[in-house]
Symmetry: C2
Subunit: 367 residues, 2 copies
């Protein structure tokens, strides 16, 4: 087969970045200015680097309409670092907040609660696997015991392809969400949450940084056992700069935020993302069972479309043929198998169209 004219990378993260950002990134990061320094050779205490950090924060605040009583932190490391940082910061034994409530919705929420269990008593208050309606308990009617320091959800399960259709009401208990793989894919009502975190390598930019958005009242918790760089209060007091921040990753994130704004912001992103996901799920659902999507319609992820071949023995051939057709990184996570197409903001409709065309051809050849 001849080389395809375009190659579409459906990786779940590190994922495809916007062409416009890649085109500018080299000059932005690696060209020396009049001061003899590139953006990554300057003191982080200086005005130039602080202006970059401030601009990234302002752009993100505008995109998400983050209320004034929230602080935005750009912290080193990935979301897994937050699996421990969240309990280390939010538990408060002095106020009898020793328990953490977790909802189990798939691979990453279980990883998060396993790590939390090293530092907290974990109470699993909801389980769902996407194969039946999120009704035990239904979203909106969770009973979170008072005395819980927080209630944690994984808003979009990257591995399982499952997303929350609505946010639970956890009453006085702050709702904490890992929003890594749905962050910036659509508008988000920040005020529903006590804390959100998202690692960069999906819709934010390259790996190496995690965004934490935290309500100010939660910064008053003591965080006695949190290593200083993981302490939200200390970082908030010093604008995320208690030591040298991951400047490269933050700078590229600022370019991505700018790109999103230029395209019309999060409403525009959501419109395109809904269209992309609808087209792909439609192709799956209309394949007469050749392709199947295991997640109930209401809980399907818009960003991580998980599907299977009814005849699983065709999966390897699908992956090989897809790669030859210029459609890469479609293998499902090893914990669930099958196939997965991640449709982050930087994946244009054309990429989804190419995948759908290939799926039809593959079905015709192998159906």
């Amino acid at each position: 087969m001849s080389s395809p004219s375009a190659v579409w990378n459906f990786a779940s993260g590190p994922a495809r970045l916007p062409d416009a950002v890649l085109a500018r990134a080299g000059d932005v990061l690696f060209r020396r200015g009049a001061d003899g320094a590139t953006a990554i050779e300057r003191p982080f205490t200086g005005t130039a680097v602080r202006a970059v950090l401030e601009s990234a924060r302002e752009r993100l605040t505008q995109l998400l309409e983050i209320p004034a009583n929230y602080r935005v932190l750009f912290l080193a490391g990935g979301a897994m670092q937050q699996f421990s940082a969240v309990p280390l910061n939010l538990l408060d034994p002095d106020s009898d907040l020793r328990t953490a409530a977790y909802a189990d919705s798939g691979y990453w929420s279980r990883r998060a609660m396993q790590e939390a269990a090293r530092f907290a008593e974990v109470s699993v208050i909801a389980r769902h696997d996407g194969r039946e309606a999120l009704a035990a308990p239904a979203v909106g009617k969770w009973h979170v015991p008072t005395g819980c320091a927080y209630c944690h959800i994984t808003a979009n399960e990257t591995v399982d392809g499952l997303a929350y259709p609505a946010w639970p009401d956890t009453g006085e208990v702050p709702l904490v969400a890992d929003v890594t793989s749905c962050f910036l894919s659509a508008p988000l009502d920040i005020s529903r949450f006590g804390l959100l975190y998202a690692s960069a390598q999906k819709n934010i930019g390259p790996s190496g940084m995690t965004v934490v958005i935290v309500r100010e009242d939660l910064l008053r918790r003591p965080a006695q056992s949190a290593p200083s760089p993981l302490c939200y209060r200390l970082q908030a007091e010093q604008d995320g700069c208690i030591n040298t921040p991951p400047v490269m990753a933050i700078h590229l994130a600022a370019l991505v935020f700018e790109w999103i704004a230029e395209l019309g912001g999060l409403s525009a992103m959501a419109e395109t993302n809904r269209r992309k996901a609808a087209l792909l799920y439609q192709a799956i659902d209309s394949s007469d069972g050749f392709y199947t999507a295991p997640i109930l319609v209401a809980h399907r992820s818009m960003t991580n479309v998980r599907f299977h071949l009814a005849d699983d023995s065709l999966t390897e051939r699908f992956l090989i043929d897809a790669e030859q057709a210029g459609l890469t990184n479609l293998r499902g996570h090893r914990h669930v198998g099958g196939l997965r197409a991640s449709l982050y903001n930087a994946m244009p409709l054309a990429g989804v169209g190419a995948l759908i065309d290939f799926m039809k051809e593959f079905r015709q050849s192998n159906g």
Copy 2:
């Protein structure tokens, strides 16, 4: 004054990077390959990213001649993250290793011990400020109580401009060193240490990553309270990939390691670095007291040359005039004041020559 023909950036870190690395960085990181992905858009579990990580590790191992019983980790975050990671990993209450010995040699060793004191009993076993010989106790004759989990030194004090002239013998107690600002400036006998760490933004590359080199026997300590991404054992078991690593920073570090090797390795670096430092200290010492270096000759840092104007009221003028002459970021750290020129590997002799010429002119105009 007309614009200078070259600008030399003497920042202490994030610091000047090699021209050759900056020239290649954009293509290496931001150009898509035949697979439709740049180096920062690929799954970290895939062969391409693993090959980059492995190549970075191999190059560093060759440069430093790291013995086979050490593991090399590239971890997210800065050296400050290791201030807590070291006690969280190396303390072992079950084996009665509850105490950590620290030598106080300046600003960063005190920051390290303050953080450690949150997790361990800290015993300060040596103090020196660089103004008198390192003789209380002398290097080589430290008494480190048995029962200490480790003994920590800051090999080069970036703020104070002080370096260890030799490594202490700590007997059975593992010597742990923050080598951030002297790492890769000269050959280093790794076998003298139980663990070394260095954040990237001096001689390794841009900020966002820290190198940890740890002797394998220390990986057997329980590390019960270490957040998983900070647990050396877990990271070593998974080649530093328990979650998405900071690929961008590691990739650029690999380019820097290659650049060092091409120039002749660490012996060649050391020869040039010694010459740069000797020239600058010579200019200070031969200024009839106009410039002074507060650190005793034997303890002077080769990488962070700290000096003062005898008439401190001239310091601001020096900084302004220097900047106009194309010599930037010479301000001393706020905790010690005065001036500082950081001469990392990427600072060529020409930059040091330009600084020395300027210092002579400034003295003639203001002496």
